[in-house]
Amino acid sequence: MDFIRQTLVIARKDLRAELRTKEALNASLAFALVILVLFSFAFDPSEKETVDMSGGLLWIVFAFAGTLVLNRSFAREVPNDCLDALIAAPISGSALFLGKALANFALVISVELVSLPIFGIFYNVHWTGQLWSLLLVLALGTWGLTVIGTIFSALTVNIRLRELMAPLLVYPMLIPVLMSAMQLTMQLIAGKPLGGENEVWLRLLVAFDVIFTALSLVLLETVLVG
Amino acid sequence: MDTRNFTFMFYGFLAAWLILVVYVLSLVSRERKLAEQLKGLKGLLDDRDRK
């Protein structure tokens, strides 16, 4: 179907362009590692404390490192007026959004999958206990992060204070995602299963992803075409 | 308990009113600034039209 093909074309373009320069990817990875190291110096947590704060620490790292990549998403189109070429191309706003979101998702997930083992080593936390549930939470949380990051990168693409404005707008929006992801990650690392009273957090995460993916698919066209 | 209770209630009402008053004052000052700009621009355009 055309929609899927065009989405993949956009996603592949974004990934190829990013992997060629790796500027945002390296910055994001370095940023994640620095925070992990600093936190271990700052708190020097005991075994019990580490597990308690694992969810919070990991998702703060993911959120901040992630936004470095996400802000670049539409900013990359500005130098040669490439955004005009994409708007002029016969693809719908939703295909453009989904393509960019998928590319961003892949990049942010890769940063996370690198930082997770490093977190395990630095804080000697056994995080592979419930690997599949953890990866599910990681995917859902990162998709929420990516959707909001991508649409706000588009929203602020033509604004002069773009680098400053995007984070200021994104973080308050992300609080529900970060909260539920932190809660679920901590429970999983502490060994508790996903069901039970964590169920409600999982539902909130899924609801957030669905609502804002739908909103972004509909509204990107309005954002880009004046 | 009672005196502290009263003082904090007083602070509470004072704070609530203070915020609203500060906001109203900012509205008033903005109103004056806008009116001046409007008058200045209109004056500028009138002179230019008369020339």
């Binding site: 362009a17 060629r20 005009d84 191309a89 016969p90 075409v225 004046g226 | -």
Partner: protein, 232 residues
Amino acid sequence: MTAVAAEGVWKFYGDYPALRDVELHAEPGACLALIGRNGAGKTTLLRIIGGFSKAGRGQVRIFGNDPRETETRRRVGWIGHGISVYDELSALENLSLFGRLYNLPDPHKSAMEWLERTGLERVKDGLVREFSRGMRQRLAVARAFLHQPSVLLLDEPFTALDDRAIAVLQRLLREALAEGRTVVMSTHQLREALELATHVALLNRGKVAFHGERTPQMAADPGWVYAHYDEA
């Protein structure tokens, strides 16, 4: 069927009317030059025709359809101020990317064809970042012609181009017009534009001050139109 038609188009920036009741049309095979001072609304009008922004009031039609419709966009080519190609990708990668976006039957073949026609086939695998200005501009021209658009919209095409790129663009535009395609361009370079133009439209502070055929007299003295129709 009129290629490009603007009917009663208004465009507001806040309350300021950038375009005021613009009535313009271009038949297939015509080359309409939009001229006018800076801020007269040339680029604003062109961007509405290209579907980059919507008219406040009135409407723009390309072959009778709304410019934002996917099918219509498949038939429109655009050259703006920026070259709209990616520095991180090579010339061939850029053109095949746009070839796939425009759903061409064989993106690679069309890309190679247009690289040859703009003299870039030898550097097809070089990254655009390493290209000279002239090569980048010719690649932008190749991208605009890649999907054989029936309508070509050019926003001040001759300002940023070097001599070789201008020659290439003029040759391609003449061929396109001969094949019955339509060109609408906003421009300051009256000489290059008036050579190609079949019709001229003068915009003055958002209003159409003059719209008509290009007479030989205009080509001879580019300032003529301004003198007769452009009040202060």
